[in-house]
């Protein structure tokens, strides 16, 4: 199975789309939460700063500057890292208390909020930390600024963001890999199903799809398809039975008619009865095609060859060729037999003879004047079985039609009207080959047709 095939498969594309959409949705949701989290964190931070300022003001009102100084000193002594930083200035702007430098480079925000950066000592290291600050008039010209660092908030938000990103990437990778494998699995199942179907199409209508080992909907589908095949076969057999019945039932009255006609003919003078002769010929033609239909059916529906006699294939082919030689010569066609040794196979000589005469008959019918028909007898692959090839130099049969010509009454469109026949010859050939556990294959001979009969 090709990777590209998997990537192009519907299942994979569906799963990939699903994973991407899911990730995007999750990303949006978590992003919204991130914004909400940052917003509330900052608001809480701001509120705490304002509360602290209010506390400072209360302290100032109660205990004036000394109280404020005392309060700030107490706060600064606390070991907590996350604490407030203070700056109290007098009327001249001079620092009176607190641990912030006078007027660091403030950035000014809305509503009097200020931001700045300051290095803090943390475990012997100097780290630049972002601060949020707000000033307030304490009274009597004293001003206080309370600041609070928000590194922890940023850190938490960043951590959250990074986690989110990783989770998303992991989801995408896992989802798409999972999608790939499940698509590959489905594709594998579908391919197995397809192989089964094409095997059945290629002329094994009796076969069924493998149900064991399949799971889930593929199994259900295979079962359904098998039921459909079952039904189709029943219908096909029905049609065949009907045509057999027609052939069978019409044969007797047609024979009677033919007999009556020939009686009538005998009473006529030779010159008068030409029309009647044609009618009698037509009758014989019809009868022979009815007989052929019934013979094909009998061969196809009955059991196959049991035992059979030893048939010398080279001798049989020599007889066939000898029978057709004059006909070929009449049309200036060269008929050649290439058989190096006698080959003996089990079978019914009459049926095999019928089969080869049908093939040769076709070959002569379609080979133009001055053409060549070559009959070859050899052993099959790995020296097992027998192979008989009849190759002509006629127009051949288009590749698309080669399977169809085995169907009863089927005739290649271009040969209709041009050549006589009922479209039963090759059906009978196939029925006889299969009766002998063999098979028939048509290939191109460039130019012409190559009929290969394989017998066990």
């Amino acid at each position: 199975m090709q990777i590209r095939e998997v990537l192009n498969s519907l299942t994979f594309r569906y799963i990939a789309k699903y994973v991407v959409t899911l990730s995007a949705t999750v990303f949006l949701l978590v992003g919204a939460y991130y914004v909400y989290f940052s917003y509330t964190s900052f608001r809480e931070l701001g509120e705490s700063v304002l509360e602290e300022l209010e506390t400072l003001q209360l302290v100032y009102r109660g205990q004036s500057l000394a109280g404020v100084e005392q309060y700030i000193d107490d706060q600064m002594a606390s070991p907590s890292v996350a604490r407030f930083y203070y700056l109290v200035t007098d009327q001249q702007g001079e620092k009176v208390a607190g641990d912030l430098a006078v007027a660091p480079r403030y950035r000014e925000f809305d509503d009097g909020w200020l931001g700045f950066e300051m290095a803090l000592q943390n475990r012997g290291e100097s780290i630049d930390v972002e601060f949020l600050a707000h000033p307030m008039e304490l009274g009597d010209g004293y001003r206080a600024i309370v600041a609070r660092d928000y590194a922890d908030i940023v850190e938490r938000a960043e951590l959250m963001f990074r986690t989110l990103l990783r989770v998303m990437i992991a989801t995408l990778i896992l989802g798409i890999t999972g999608g790939f494998f499940s698509a590959a699995r489905t594709l594998d199942q579908v391919e197995r199903l397809n192989r089964g179907i094409s095997r059945i199409i290629r002329g094994k209508p009796g076969q069924r799809l493998q149900v064991e080992g399949e799971k889930g909907y593929i199994r259900a589908q295979a079962i359904l398809m098998n039921q459909m095949l079952e039904q189709m076969e029943t219908l096909m057999q029905g049609v065949r039975r009907v045509s057999d019945n027609i052939a069978h039932d019409l044969r007797t009255p047609l024979t009677r008619m033919r007999n009556d006609l020939s009686q009538l003919r005998h009473r006529m003078a030779i010159e008068e009865g030409e029309q009647l002769d044609r009618i009698i010929e037509e009758c014989d033609d019809l009868l022979s095609s009815f007989n052929a239909v019934l013979r094909i059916s009998a061969l196809e529906s009955g059991s196959r060859l049991a035992g059979g006699n030893e048939v010398e294939l080279r001798a049989l082919l020599q007889d066939v060729i000898e029978l057709y030689e004059p006909l070929a010569q009449e049309q200036d066609i060269v008929l050649e037999l290439e058989a190096h040794q006698e080959q003996v196979c089990k079978g019914e000589a009459d049926l095999l003879f019928q089969m080869f005469t049908n093939i040769l008959d076709n070959a002569i019918k379609y080979t133009p004047s001055k053409g060549v028909i070559r009959v070859q007898l050899s052993f099959g692959e790995n020296d097992t079985g027998h192979r008989i090839v009849v190759a002509d130099s006629g127009p051949g049969i288009p590749a698309a039609e080669r399977e169809n010509v085995f169907r009863r009454f089927y005739r290649v469109e271009s040969s209709r009207g041009e050549h006589p026949g009922h479209g039963l010859g090759l059906s009978l050939v196939q029925a006889i080959a299969q009766y002998h556990y063999g098979m028939v294959k048509l290939t191109a001979n460039n130019p012409g047709l190559r009929v290969t009969v394989s017998l066990p």
């Binding site: 009686q263 002769d277 022979s288 019914e348 049926l351 003879f353």
Partner: protein, 229 residues
Amino acid sequence: MNILLVEDDKQVGEFIVAELHAAGHTCIHALDGEAGYQAASKASHDVLVIDRMMPRMDGLSLIKSLRRDGNNTPVLVLSALGDVDDRVQGLHCGADDYLVKPFAMAELLARLEVLHRRVSLPGADTQTRLVVEDLSMDLLRQEVKRKGTTITLQPREYKLLEFLMRHAGQVVTRAMLLEKVWGYHFDPQTNVIDVHVSRLRQKIDKDFEHPMLVTVRGAGYRLGAELDH
């Protein structure tokens, strides 16, 4: 010809009887195997035509019984069973010919003539020379002459002519030629036999005024003048 027909299908039987009468033969019709056995034992006939599937005694048992009794009248089996096996089985039981239903009357007539003739000319198989009108065939030297002129024939043409000469004056159908001369029982799709016959005709008739090998419309061929019954 004096024929006994053993056929349980009344309609088919009557048709055959009428046709045989029309062809100038006498025919007795028995409607089942047992009646057929009695009729065949009571009087002698030239040829027996026996159906296979019949009530009371089937055709093959009937033939076996007759042969056991030492009755060697030629038998033609008529049957709807036309598979290779059926044919072989029929011939195995002592039948001389086998015709599958439905059949053309001309085919039946031709075959009956041949069966009859074979018996009425005893010693035909040991002949060393066949003569039909001015055509002669030396079976030992494999030589064919017409009016003293030697005619060269291919092996199959020779066999074909031999068969025709042995049945001179009788209608020989294409199916019979395929069976007896080529040794295969099959349905040719085209007029392949006609080509062989016309080649043979070329050789034996071309340089002579009187044609010997004639085509009988709707039936087959005949060598020489028609025989009287």
